[in-house]
């Protein structure tokens, strides 16, 4: 069991928690050491996995999932701890590792209770990593919940503003989603095998059996898609996102927007679309309408916000809406674009939130009306913010462009008027994105210094630079050399595309 | 036979009357005393039903043990001759209603229960006593010390652990700080 590399993605955060457990609350150095070592190992492991995976694929191993392993966990319900990764999960693991790594540095000076903060943070990472390695629906769901719960405490204790309200709202709405999800997953489980066969939670087996009765599929699809869609900030279930992000501490916003929201998108195609292909074909239009609204609606909402985090939260609604929107186009290119958008959005939103945290830590305000001309005072942070902004509005050479273009070209393949109309609406969002990003950049960074007191502020410290550079390198990396990622993802979508085509 | 019937009526009367008195009297010590009579009445019923061991236990544990506890507790917590404060009236009414309705319902259920209308249900005490074996101490001992079906070693041990826990708990809770 321990010979499987994937298991270590869960074990290391747990070890980190153990390590933190023995640290004293006051010894910041020890806590940081544990976190830095742990997150570095995770990052190294993720890169190693990625290289290994590509090497195996290069060597012609084209099983659907690699590094698989399965250990019985609870026999009466046939629950396994089943792990395995395809290209998408590998990239998601890499993304998570990068963001955990950057998040560690972004919360270098967390106060109060650093030890407890990082404990919950590590638990959150456990959930996230566990989710991406699982191919057993139940284990997946368990890790999903493990990732959600620490959020409540992280926001409620270390947040700012109306933190209790936001934490409660976020947790309750996501739990509501989980309730739908649980129903959906149980439904799939009870129909996972043809009559008389052994029921299973294993995604691959369910997909192979393809035994979910079409009349049930529609209902279960709605349950699972809405369940994951809540986490993916799908209209009208997105309102936890602005409040939650606005109140969360920096690293939590990063991890939440960067990775946790991706759990939603990932679940949508891995479970809802893959396991219920007939329903996906039939019901996609409903969710295309909702996610299409998300895309435009989020962008318009972001235009008139004055709180930096609200702007980014609505921007996330728009971008994550784009992820689900692209998935629902149900063709390989658009779905590939969706994954690219997940990666891109994860990195750039993490960067955004990291920077907002750093700016807030200095100016103690997030209201763009109270700031101005920060580029003169903290040029490093200003430049990083602009880079993040450019990534967000889809500048070529940065990740956002690649993702959006792949989505648009994929989505355009559906040649009927309904799809076309929504794609045109979605493309409009890139203009609106430019509007709100430039509005923020103009008010926040450029122009005259708004507040005399800000002139005394300092630029980024070394750990802040480290955190942001990590993310920027990844963003530019995807932007410059997208094709290897693109190919990895496209290959991984083949089984899903086959399932969808067979179900027509 | 007749003796049995007479005994029954006496005991039933005692139980009924003292039950009512135990819950209506104003003095707490009296309530405990009336309870004692009810418990003894129940013990007599056990004897009458042929469960001598059970009756003995009832007398020993309840009448002997628990009642003493009650009396001690009452003496520890009450000043002598102090009446209970009158209860709130709506509770009183609700209590009466609840018990009367409950009583009526239960009695109605008893009299219409199909199971009691069968041959077993309608047989008399003497029939019942003769149709089964006498419960001997040997049988009880075996039932408590075996692990077969209808044998209760495990619950028996569990109860002993419970009692131990209860002793420790009682001591811990009630000791002076």
């Amino acid at each position: 069991m321990f010979g499987n590399i994937l298991i270590w993605f869960v074990i290391i955060p747990v070890l980190m928690m153990a390590g933190l457990g023995v640290c004293r609350n006051s010894s910041m150095a020890a806590i940081r050491a544990v976190m830095v070592i742990g997150s570095t190992i995770l990052l190294a492991l993720a890169i190693w996995l990625c290289v290994d995976f590509l090497a195996l694929r290069g060597a012609g191993v084209d099983d659907e999932m690699l590094f698989t392993g399965s250990w019985m966990w609870y026999a009466p319900l046939n629950i396994h701890l089943a792990v395995g990764v395809d290209g998408i999960s590998v990239l998601m693991l890499l993304l998570s590792a990068v963001i955990v790594f950057a998040g560690t540095f972004a919360s270098w000076k967390i106060n109060p209770l650093p030890k407890n903060f990082f404990l919950w943070f590590a638990l959150l990472s456990t959930g996230v990593f566990g989710f991406f390695i699982s191919i057993d629906m139940f284990t997946m769901f368990m890790f999903y919940e493990v990732a959600l719960i620490p959020m409540y405490l992280l926001i409620g204790v270390w947040g700012t503003g109306r933190k209790e309200y936001s934490a409660m709202k976020l947790t309750l709405m996501l739990m509501g989603g989980s309730a739908f999800l649980m129903l959906g997953l149980l439904g799939i489980y009870w129909h996972s095998a043809p009559a008389g066969g052994e029921l299973t939670w294993n995604i691959l087996e369910i997909a192979r059996n393809n035994a979910v009765d079409p009349s049930w599929q529609n209902l279960l699809f709605c349950f699972t898609f809405v369940g994951f869609g809540v986490l993916g900030a799908m209209f009208p279930f997105h309102t936890w996102s602005p409040d939650g992000h606005a109140c969360a501490p920096t690293a939590v916003s990063m991890l939440h927007a960067g990775v946790l929201m991706k759990l939603g998108g990932y679940g949508c195609f891995r479970i809802a679309i893959y396991l219920l292909p007939a329903a996906a074909n039939e019901l996609a239009w409903i969710f295309i309408i909702l996610t299409g609204i998300s895309v435009v609606y989020g962008a318009f909402s972001a235009c008139v916000q004055t709180d930096l985090k609200y702007i980014n939260a609505y921007s996330s609604v728009s971008h994550c809406g784009m992820v689900l929107f692209a998935l629902l186009m149900l063709n390989q290119t658009a779905m590939t674009g969706a994954i690219l958008q997940m990666l891109s959005h994860g990195l750039m939103t993490a960067l955004f939130f990291a920077l907002i945290g750093m700016i807030y830590g200095r100016t103690h305000t997030r209201d763009i009306r109270e700031m101005g001309g920060l580029m003169q005072i903290m040029p490093y942070l200003g430049v990083c913010y602009m880079i993040a902004g450019f990534a967000s509005l889809g500048l070529p050479g940065l990740s956002g462009f690649v993702a959006e273009m792949t989505i648009f070209f994929g989505a355009w393949e559906d040649a009927d008027m309904f799809h076309r109309a929504f794609v045109v609406a979605a493309t409009c969002s890139i203009v609106i994105t430019a509007v709100y990003i430039l509005r923020v950049v103009g008010k926040l960074l450029l122009g005259k210094v708004h507040d005399e007191h800000h002139l005394q502020l300092t630029d980024a410290t070394w750990f802040e630079r480290f955190s942001t550079v990590t993310l920027i390198v990844c963003i530019a990396g995807i932007g410059f050399f997208p094709n290897w990622i693109n190919e990895t993802i496209q290959h991984s979508f083949l089984p899903i595309i086959h399932a969808l085509q067979n179900a027509i | 036979m007749v003796g049995n019937i007479i005994l029954y009526f006496v005991v039933a009367l005692v139980i009924t009357v003292f039950s009512v008195m135990a819950v209506t009297t104003k003095k707490i010590l009296r309530a405990a005393t009336y309870l004692l009579f009810v418990l003894l009445g129940a013990a007599v019923f056990y004897f009458q039903l042929g469960y001598e061991f059970l009756g003995a236990i009832q007398v020993a544990v309840y009448a002997g043990g628990i009642m003493v506890l009650f009396v001690f507790a009452i003496l520890l917590t009450n000043k002598p001759n102090e009446n209970e404060n009158p209860l709130r009236s709506h509770r009183q009414v609700v209590g009466v209603i609840a018990s009367v309705i409950g009583c009526g319902l239960l009695l109605w259920a008893l009299f219409t229960m199909p199971m009691l209308a069968t041959a077993e249900g309608t047989r008399s005490l003497s029939d019942a006593l003769t149709s089964g074996p006498d419960i001997t101490m040997k049988m009880i001992g075996e039932a408590f010390t075996g692990t077969e079906k209808y044998q209760y070693l495990l619950p028996f041990e569990a109860v002993s652990v419970l009692l131990l826990a209860c002793i420790i708990g009682g001591v811990t809770v009630a000791r002076k700080r």
Partner: protein, 103 residues
Amino acid sequence: MNLDILWYLVPSVIMFCCGVYGFVTRKNMIAMLVSLELMLNSADLNFAIFNRFLFPDKMEGMVFTLFAIAIAAAETAVAIAIIINIYRSIGSTEIVETNKMKH
């Protein structure tokens, strides 16, 4: 005149209902405990009665009664310990006073 099962069950029912009434209306916790004992006893009695009349060749009812008595004894002992403790803390055994813990 036949002493059948109903004869025995009726006093038991009355005992039980008296217990209910007492438990609901009493303010003193020891008095409530007294009512509780009434209800318990009624149940015990029912076990024995049903055993004797309906399944005379078995002894499960009796065994259960034995266990119930043992547990009742334990429960009473703990309850009285708690009551004494409460009395020591708040100087009263009235049930309405015990919500002081909440404030």
